[in-house]
Point group: C2
Chain length 412, copies 2
């Protein structure tokens, strides 16, 4: 695709900011040059975050169709990309609600027109006032908690602000991170208390099967997905039997959604990583390599043929030091390597990272002249959520053309 | 210390940006409240990056004195903190030159008044134009290279811009990252070519003993430090014997400087991490825990006494997923835990991280009411360079008072 908006394109894309790149010029195979200002992936400074727009669109559309076919509402998580543009693609065809991981995201997406936001990290007293203020700009902001002390604080804050807080009870379905143990007796009392509070709009129960990331393939993910669903459906029934109304039964992780076939009893799903995917999702079986939409463009800055290594300018501050799917691919290193057009180079791997250096090792001898100083590669990071958060902007590609620039929110 | 600048303090510190924190108010033990606007560490939103100013000053001063006593010039690396304020503390008493890891840092510090900057990542053709532009604002910007192809590009760019590039030859003293092998014959020819070029001001040789981070204590670091020095001194002599002038012999890593006692033959050192230090430096023996100036303030957002765990709101986007000194402390996890005033809590460790969640595990049972929801802890990250880069600002502390806010540069 050629963008025929020459004079306007540079400011719109903020090309000046890609400071290390050479001047923008039309590729040789297009004409007339005077009317074109197409930036190509080769023109970008490095390291650069690349988003393949067609892949994002396909990933968003597939998840949307999957949620519809399973009869659940899609409330996508936006923490992986943190951009308005990707969130709009995610909610297409659904009710428009989203899930966020920080109050900074909540404020950013509220300003971007999103009206129904779940802040999916356990709330603490010090963050309630900000959430209360946001609630006045939104149709709904929901918080979650798993502790009576947090419930106390929610009630106090709601009274002080003259509002009712939407609250989910966070449930641990085996991830052993946040959430109440669904087997414990206290859970009915806590849910009942939330449902009875005049200061709380009790929404229901919510979980995240984080253990799915530790699976070794789709069969294991299927078992985790079935457990996630069953724990929540059984708990919802138990609470309802005890007289506690449970409107929402919310689950969500990209791996468990990737294999889900029957979500009877579930009302809402909250996957997020599927927009970009990454090397971990490929390794555990959530997606294929061609489904990965986020890569990091790097340049070769050193060549060491004797040790079969290249040095690239994507280090830990571009790829993140997430150790990746070591349980599936012990030699995974820190990234799968592609050529500049996105074709896998199977004999290369990013094997180590320091702050601004990445070491790429080849499984075979480097040929003379192969991967010279300055040549471009792309790396698929182990964990796109962490790598994307390291960039202030993403270059949005259609094929090899840079067709836009997205600016994620950051901070808390 | 009490800052008596009430009306001015809030805007100066950008307090509005610490959005999750409660309103600023005077602590109860100070009076009269109307004239004070002292922010305390307890008032900050979380997660927050904390810099203990007295520790930074002490670390900077010690390294400065050490360089002076060893008879070498200090050209500190600024990549750990990326702030003008810390860099000014680092160069105190020295000639003012600094080392950077990105061209964005070079531009930022140039704008901040620094005049002599070494960009210590191998240069590539696509970055030369930006370096050339910067050279016109500075007394000197030095680049480094280890490949004849990069030397070709430097000459072309220098000719095009009508300048001479200051160039270091990067040497590998055993880190096996960047640099020419000092044993290879080609090194004399490459150095000679740089020295003979009319477009290049050949500065000398430069190395970084990155392998020092893999040491298991000060004895091993001493061996690496001696090797780093000896490789460089021998190479400088070999080049000089071959008629190649070598003005600078530049080394630098925080661990090797921490143990250095004799740097005869070395002209310049470039440590950086020592300003902040971190859990890795403590483990390998570069410093004591009380020398660590950078911590991350987090709140307890979940309590799970049955599994002896707390959940905190400092995840991988606040602490980074650097695996830390596993070779010294196999159970290091992702952070040492301190109380809000900086006192170590030895039975707690950050044991796992996801994007916005940190799991803290206790070596003993949690007592009832201990570490309640909302309570504050501080975490010493494994690698302060990577953790600091995740924050847009640092809260600068003297004791428990917030006395300033520093804004690091980011990106490339």
């Amino acid at each position: 695709m050629v963008v025929r908006s020459g004079p306007l394109l540079a400011p719109r894309l903020g090309l000046g900011g890609w400071s290390a790149g050479p001047p923008v010029s039309a590729p040789e195979d297009t004409a007339p040059p005077a009317t074109l200002a197409v930036m190509r992936v080769e023109d970008l400074g490095t390291p650069a975050a690349l988003v393949d727009l067609e892949v994002v669109e396909r990933n968003a559309s597939r998840m949307s169709e999957k949620a519809s076919s399973l009869g659940v509402r899609l409330r996508p998580h936006v923490k992986t990309h943190k951009t308005i543009e990707a969130a709009r693609l995610q909610v297409g065809g659904h009710f428009g609600g989203i899930t966020v991981s920080t109050l900074a995201e909540a404020a950013f997406f509220a300003a971007g027109g999103f009206r129904d936001i779940t802040y999916a990290v356990p709330i603490v007293p010090a963050k309630l006032a900000a959430a209360a203020r946001l609630s006045q700009q939104l149709d709904r902001i929901s918080v979650l908690l798993d502790d009576p002390a947090a419930a106390d604080a929610v009630e106090v804050c709601a009274r002080e602000h003259g509002i009712r807080f939407s609250v989910f009870l966070k449930v641990d379905c085996g991830g052993r991170r946040a959430g109440v143990d669904p087997e414990r007796d206290g859970i009915v009392a806590l849910a009942g208390r939330l449902a009875a509070s005049p200061h709380i709009d009790f929404r229901g129960i919510l979980t995240h099967a984080g253990q799915s990331y530790r699976c070794r393939g789709r069969d294991e993910i299927r078992a985790v997905a079935a457990h996630e669903r069953d724990v929540m459906v059984v708990l919802a029934a138990r609470l309802r039997d005890a007289g506690v109304p449970v409107e929402e039964v919310s689950i969500g992780s990209t791996p468990t959604l990737a294999v889900a076939e029957d979500l009877a009893g579930i009302t809402e799903v909250r996957p997020g990583n599927y927009v970009f995917f990454d090397a971990t999702q490929v390794a555990i079986g959530s997606c294929a390599l061609e489904d990965v939409a986020f890569t990091v463009l790097v340049r070769v800055i050193g060549r060491y043929p004797r040790r079969r290594e290249l040095l690239v300018d994507g280090g830990a501050l571009a790829l993140s030091k997430d150790p990746g799917p070591l349980h599936v691919v012990p030699e995974c290193g820190f990234g799968i390597v592609l050529d500049v057009r996105g074709v896998p180079i199977e004999h290369l791997r990013v094997v180590s990272l320091s702050q601004e250096h990445g070491v790429v090792r080849s499984a075979r001898d480097l040929r003379p002249g192969e991967f010279p100083i300055g040549s471009l590669l792309r790396a698929v990071p182990n964990h796109s959520c962490l790598a994307a958060a390291l960039f202030d902007r993403y270059a949005v590609l259609r094929g090899a053309d840079v067709v836009g620039e997205w600016h994620p929110v950051r901070g808390w």
